[in-house]
Chain length 197, copies 4
C-alpha cells in the first residue's frame, strides 16, 4: 500500500481546517477601529490555532517523508489524528468569542492534548511497522518534544480553572518550542534520504 493518497487526503483535510477557521472570524458590524478591536480576541486565537495546524502539517510532512510504507492500522491512526485536529475550528471559535473564559480555554487544551496523543500513537504505529532499527525510528528518536508537549497540555487543562491566562501561556510555550528549528532532525532526514532524492 503506498503513502501517496494518505498524504494527499491529510493535506486536503489540514488545508480545509486551517482555512475555514477564518469563517469563525465574523466581519464586525461597524466600520470604526473600535469595531475592529472587538475581533482581536478571535484573531489572537486564530493565530495560535493557525500556528498549531501548521506545526502539525510540518511534522506530518517530515514523518511521512521518512515513512516507507503504510498499512490499515496507519490509515486509522492518521484518521484519528485528523479527527481531533478537525475540532480545532470549533474550540478556536468558542475560546475566541468568550475572551478566554475557563471552560473554553480548558476544552481548547483537551483537544490539543488528544491530538498530541493521537500523533504519538501514529508514530508508534509507524515504528512498529518499520522496526526499531529503521531510519524512521531513528529520525523520531526518543520524541522528547512530543512527550513534553503532552505533559504541558495535561497540566494546562486544570490550570485553566485557576487562571485561564496560565493555560494560554502553556499553549503558546508549546507552540514556540515546536517553531524553534531542530537542526538534528533535518540533518538526520537529510542523511537518511541521501540518494533517494
Amino acid at each position: 500500500m503506498n503513502k501517496g493518497r494518505l498524504e494527499a487526503f491529510s493535506d486536503g483535510v489540514l488545508a480545509v481546517i486551517i482555512t475555514i477557521m477564518v469563517l469563525e472570524m465574523k466581519s464586525p458590524h461597524g466600520t470604526s477601529l473600535a469595531s475592529l478591536g472587538s475581533v482581536i480576541p478571535v484573531f489572537l486565537t486564530y493565530i495560535l490555532s493557525f500556528v498549531y495546524i501548521a506545526i502539525y502539517w510540518n511534522n506530518h510532512h517530515h514523518l511521512l517523508h521518512a515513512t516507507q510504507r503504510v498499512n490499515g492500522a496507519t490509515l486509522w491512526a492518521n484518521l484519528h489524528l485528523l479527527f481531533w485536529l478537525s475540532l480545532v475550528p470549533f474550540t478556536t471559535a468558542w475560546m475566541g468569542e468568550n475572551h478566554f473564559d475557563s471552560w473554553p480555554v480548558a476544552v481548547y487544551g483537551v483537544v490539543l492534548l488528544l491530538a498530541a496523543v493521537a500523533y504519538f500513537v501514529l508514530t508508534k504505529t509507524l515504528i512498529s511497522l518499520h522496526g526499531r532499527g529503521s531510519t524512521l525510528a531513528r529520525s523520531i528518536g526518543r520524541d522528547k518534544k512530543g512527550k513534553i508537549s503532552i505533559v504541558i497540555y495535561a497540566a494546562a487543562v486544570p490550570l485553566a480553572f485557576v487562571r485561564s491566562w496560565i493555560a494560554g501561556a502553556c499553549y503558546i510555550v508549546v507552540a514556540i518550542m515546536w517553531l524553534i528549528p531542530d537542526p538534528r532532525i533535518e540533518k538526520k532526514v537529510a542523511e537518511s534520504t541521501e540518494g533517494n532524492g
Copy 2:
C-alpha cells in the same frame, strides 16, 4: 484514461465533507459546562459521520489501489457516490440538532443506504471493466460486508419510526463492522500488488 485525477478529486471532496461538518457544530453561547453539554448530541452525530466518511475514504483507497484503469462510466459512478456522501453534513446537522427525532434519524439512514448502493454500483462498474477474473474482482470478492450493510440500513430506516435509538444502534453496528480489520483483504491486496509497489 488514468485514475490519478479521479483519486485526487475524490480525496478533495471527501476532505471537504469531513471537515465542513464541524461548521454545523456551532460554538455555544455561554461558557459553562452546561452550555457545552448542549453540543453533545451534535458532537456524537459528528463522530459517527466522521467515522463513516473515514470508512468510505479507506474503502475507496483500497478499491482504487486495485484498479488498473477507469472509463467514463467509472467517473460517473464515482460522482454518484460523492453526491450521496456530500449530503452527510446536512443529515448530520439535522439529526444532531434535533436530539435523534424519528424523521432526521430515518433521513440520515436513507442517505447512508443510497451511498452504500452507490458504492456497490461503483464496484460493479469497475468489475465489468476489469473482468470477473481480474485481481480487482478477486479482491472485492463476494462483498459480504457491503451487502449486509445495505440490508441493515434498509431495516433501520423504518425502525427509526418505532424507536429512533434502534436505528441509531444499527448505524453504529455497521460502522463497527467496517472498523474491525479484515486481514484477508489486506493480504489479497498485498499479494496482488507484490512487485508493483
Copy 3:
C-alpha cells in the same frame, strides 16, 4: 511548464465548490416530514448544480488529459473558468431559496452562460498552443455540444421572465445532453493516448 499543478488546483477548487453548496441547504427547524419538504426546492437546485460542476470536472479532466503543455494564457483562461463556476453556490442558494422566481432563475443562467463561454475560450487557448492538427484539436473537434449549450443558455435567460420553468427545463436539457455518453470522444482519446498510458 507542466500541467500537474493546474489540474491539482482546479480539482481543489471544484471539490470545494461542489461540497460547500450543501452548506446553503440549511437543516430545517422542525423534525416533521413537512419541514423536510421545505428544503425540496433547494435540494432540487443542489442536484442540478452538483451535476453541472460534475460535468465541468469531467470535461476538464478529458481536456487536460489530451493537453501536452500549458502556458501563461492557459493558466488565466482556466482561472477565468473557475471564477464563473465559483459563483454557482451563490446562484444555487438564491434560486433554491426563492422557489424559482424569474430573476434568480435568469441569473443562474447568466452564470452558466459565462462559464460555458469561459470553457470555450479555454479550449481555443489550448488549441492555439498545440496547433490545429494536434491530437488535442482533433479530440475537441467542432465542439458542437459546447456551441449548442451556449445557444440554449442565451435563449433561456430571457425566457426566465416569460415562464421561469421554461428556463429551468433548458438547464436540465443541457445537463442531460452532456450526461449522455459520447462514444466518439472516448474512442478518440483512447486512440490518441494509446501507448502513453
Copy 4:
C-alpha cells in the same frame, strides 16, 4: 526534502480561500433586480480578491517550478504567506459589506501589504538556499514588480483615510500590473527548464 507536498498543501489552502470567499456573498432576501443590486459592492470586492488570490497562485506556481529543493525555513516562509492570504476572505467580507468605508479599505490594504512582504521573504529564503547564481535567483531577477507593489500598498493604506476610492484604485492598479503578461519571465523559465520537461 521534496517540494511536492509544499505545492499540494499550498494548492489546497489557496483553493479553499478562493472558494469560501463566495460564502460571504449572502444570497439577497428579495428576488427583484434591486435586491440583487445590494450584492454589487460585495461582488466587486469578490472579483478583486479572486484576482489577487489567482495572481498569488500563479506566481507561486512559477516560483516553485524554478525551485529545486526546500528546507524547514522555506516551509515556514510559505506558511507565513498562507497565513496573510487566509485573512483575505475576512477583509473582503468587511470591505464589501461596508461600501468601501475608510477602515475596512485600509485593513484590506494592510493584509495585501503583509502578504506581499511575506512573498518577498519567501523568495529571499529560496534564493539563499539555491545561491545567487542559481536559475531560481535569475528567474526572480530584481523583482521590480514585487517591490513596486509593496510601495503602492504602503501608500494606499493611509490614503484610505483621505479618500477610500484612491486606495481602492491603488489595489486595482497593482492587480492589473500583475495581470499584464511578462514575456521575459516565461522565456527565462522556458530556457532554464529546457530539457527537464
